[in-house]
């Protein structure tokens, strides 16, 4: 028995001694919470980090450091020379990419994020319409420290599906998938605050174009199923009776059907059925009247279908399959035929149709 005690004692000693090896003292550690990348004209990368400060003696809420380097990790080494804290990336929440670097392609800079085992796959990727460094550096008086501000803003907007929530995981997953292209939220500085500017579209890992914030929910219909979401529909142009309707608690379901025509053309039919609650309606219809409500449903469906068609045309012009139609085309073919097909070139030629069907599930306290 006493022998066992000795071994157990030794074991405990070993475990505690191991703690002396790699020390991480909270007060002396700088948790990088946000980083930004911008490409300079000379090909080097401007790299900035923002870390929250916990020191009560220092009045500022965060530390902001910036440097120019070839890569993210080289930059971290350079930045470490400027601070008394030990920089670690384990708490990285948001990575901001400026438009300059997004256009050139993100993949080279993703390597460090993916390889580093301390960085979570849930770290968000946000594109900045403009200079990411300037946005991160700026302090927005009425909001929390900028890194956290962007993080929370993007996260909140993503729950309403006005923008996709793009994490390291989802970006790399779509990057590797040959039937879909990655997307990311794009934000911009609006003077006093930061606003969501829409959805950035990528080919591979290079930024191509963006979808306006107003259209981003229609884009969400096309990209997949979701719950929660809000959209305001302008009815003045297309109908006589109604002016506007605000639809809330959207629940959207997408069905994709692929047909290969005898002439060699591929047809992709998307059926999107959306259930909504009407939160605001300005117009002549009485929503409690079944016939009138159905007319309204039809009108809204038509408007949405047209908007979706415009969006699809835009995507086909840009040759970017951000909605993942390729996944369904791939799954309808043999492996060899798919590998022979150059989906990037083929996507604009596909007959891609989308029909949105809106159903009002309730309309609030007014009849």
């Amino acid at each position: 028995m006493s022998k066992d005690r000795v071994t157990i004692g030794l074991l405990v000693l070993l475990i505690f001694l191991a703690g002396c090896g790699d020390q991480r003292i909270l007060e002396r550690t700088g948790f990088i919470q946000s980083t930004s990348y911008d490409l300079l004209p000379n090909g080097r990368v401007k790299f900035s980090i923002s870390l929250p400060k916990a020191d009560p003696e220092i009045k500022v809420s965060r530390e902001f450091l910036t440097t120019v380097a070839l890569s993210g990790k080289e930059a971290r080494i350079k930045l470490a020379r400027e601070t008394n804290l030990m920089l670690v990336s384990g708490q990285l929440r948001t990575t901001l990419f400026g438009l300059s670097i997004a256009r050139a392609g993100l993949w080279d800079h993703m390597d460090t994020l993916l390889r580093d085992p301390t960085i979570s796959e849930q770290a968000k990727i946000v594109i900045v319409n403009g200079d990411a460094h300037e946005l991160l550096q700026k302090n927005y008086k009425e909001y929390p420290r900028t890194g956290q501000y962007v993080d929370r803003l993007v996260e909140k907007e993503a729950t309403g599906h006005t923008i996709p929530l793009t994490t390291l995981y989802s970006f790399t997953r779509d990057y590797h998938d040959d039937g879909i292209e990655p997307v990311a939220p794009i934000v911009k500085d609006a003077g006093q605050n930061i606003v969501v500017d829409g959805v950035a579209l990528f080919h591979g890992s290079s930024y191509v174009d963006k979808i306006k914030a107003d259209d981003s929910l229609i884009f969400a219909f096309l990209r997949g199923n979701f719950k929660h979401g809000e959209i305001s529909v302008d009815l003045t142009k297309d109908t006589k009776e109604s002016k506007t309707a605000m639809l809330s608690s959207l629940a959207s379901k997408r069905k994709v059907d692929v047909r290969h025509e005898t002439n060699g053309r591929t047809t992709v039919n998307m059926q999107v059925s959306v259930k909504v609650s009407v939160m605001e309606y300005v117009g002549k219809f009485r929503l409690s009247n079944d016939a009138q409500r159905h007319t309204l449903e039809q009108q809204i469906s038509e408007i949405m279908t047209n908007r979706a068609a415009r969006l699809i045309k835009f995507l086909q012009e840009k040759k970017i399959d951000s909605i993942g139609a390729g996944i369904y085309v791939r799954n309808s073919m043999s492996y060899r035929a798919w590998k022979k097909l150059n989906w990037y070139e083929e996507f604009p030629n596909v007959n891609l149709q989308c029909k949105v069907k809106v159903k009002i599930k309730d309309y609030g306290f007014l009849r």
């Binding site: 071994t7 074991l11 070993l14 090896g21 085992p117 979570s120 995981y169 997953r173 043999s334």
Partner: protein, 360 residues
């Protein structure tokens, strides 16, 4: 009287021996060697392992449950047998040692990048020593406790349902890669370990239903593997799986709680339970064989084996080297798990024939 193993304990023991470090890389290996829907490849491998277990079952039945070491010693002279024993015990001790070293190296990479991994390795070896000096009955009881501490993690796979897409699995089967024999056996090594049940013969009786229990353990392994890899293939596209070093760690890292980010550090610790059992059982088997050659006290023998293996494990000091060594040892282990039962069956048949001839 010595207590015998129960079927439940044996099944769990086999599962715990089989699931080990290969699991961290299994989806990547399947994607690389089998391509699309690689998770399906687990089914034929499971059947192959089951067939191999049935072969062991034949030995068990032909030999009436007598220890295989006794069978060997009855008909083969010691001077031929002992070098063979030495090789076997070396292979198993080295596998046990390198598995724990591999675990420690990954642990060190994610949590303590600059600490000397051998400190953790020695700490783990102390635990292994404490367990392997106990009887197999006690080991199997400890295994049951460890099993539940590990099994709850299967529930974590619920986290991935939201980002799991059937369409990502693709309808193609085994496309986009070339299968090599090397690759096949690398993946098959995920099932290795069932051969250790050859040493359980003396510790089981009729009630143990040894072979059925081992088959059940093998089935648990297959189900866990299939479920886990199926989720992985629908969560990541297979092309991406090919690029990941340890998909299991990536999956664990994906689980995010509001207050902590690096959950994989926390959860990875739980895999120590399966590693300890795997290592203990390999060491224990090495000890069982060595006991026939060196009849000294159990504790001393265990300590000698552990220290010898530990000294040996200083040689490969990075993950890729350990991987390389483990794959060679894996071949040796597979050769043993097929060759040993076959040899034993031949031996038993010869003995039986000779016995019949003598009776006439």
């Amino acid at each position: 009287m010595q207590e015998k193993l129960s079927p439940f304990h044996v099944a769990i023991l086999v599962y715990m021996i089989q699931s080990g470090i290969v699991m961290y890389r299994l989806p990547q290996m399947l994607a690389e060697h089998f391509g699309t829907n690689g998770w399906l490849a687990i089914i034929p491998m499971f059947l192959l392992a089951s067939a191999n277990i049935l072969l062991i079952g034949a030995v068990y039945r032909l030999g009436n449950g007598v220890s295989i070491l006794v069978i060997l010693e009855q008909s083969i002279p010691r001077f031929i047998l002992y070098p063979f024993y030495l090789i076997m015990s070396c292979v198993w001790a080295m596998i046990g040692c390198l598995i724990s070293k591999h675990y420690v190296l990954i642990f060190q990479m994610v949590a303590f990048p600059t600490t000397n991994p051998m400190i953790f390795k020695i700490a783990l070896d102390v635990l292994i020593f404490l367990l392997m000096t106990k009887s197999i009955y006690n080991i199997s009881k400890a295994t049951t406790v460890f099993f539940w501490m590990l099994m709850w993690m299967v529930l974590l796979l619920f986290f991935f349902y939201k980002d799991f897409h059937w369409s990502r699995l693709t309808p193609f089967i085994f496309q986009g890669s070339t299968l090599t024999i090397d690759g096949f056996f690398n993946v098959y090594s995920a099932f290795a370990g069932y051969s250790l049940c050859l040493f359980l013969f003396p510790y089981s009786d009729k009630k143990t239903k040894l072979i059925k229990a081992v088959l059940a353990g093998n089935l648990i392994t297959a189900i866990v593997y299939i479920y886990f890899c199926f989720i992985a293939f629908g969560f990541y596209y297979y092309e991406q799986l090919k690029t990941l070093q340890f998909p299991l760690l990536n999956l664990l890292a994906y689980i995010q709680l509001p207050f902590v980010q690096a959950t994989e550090n926390l959860l990875y610790g739980f895999f120590m339970f399966s590693i300890i059992i795997t290592a203990v059982m390999y060491f224990w088997s090495a000890k069982e064989i060595s006991k026939r050659m060196f009849p000294i006290s159990d504790r001393l023998l265990s300590a000698i084996i552990l220290v010898a293996a530990l000294g040996f494990s200083f040689i490969p000091d990075v993950i890729s080297e350990v991987d390389q060594w483990l794959s060679y040892l894996g071949y040796a282990e597979l050769a043993l798990s097929l060759g040993l039962p076959l040899g034993l069956i031949v031996l038993l048949l010869i003995v039986r024939k000779r016995g019949a001839a003598l009776n006439e």
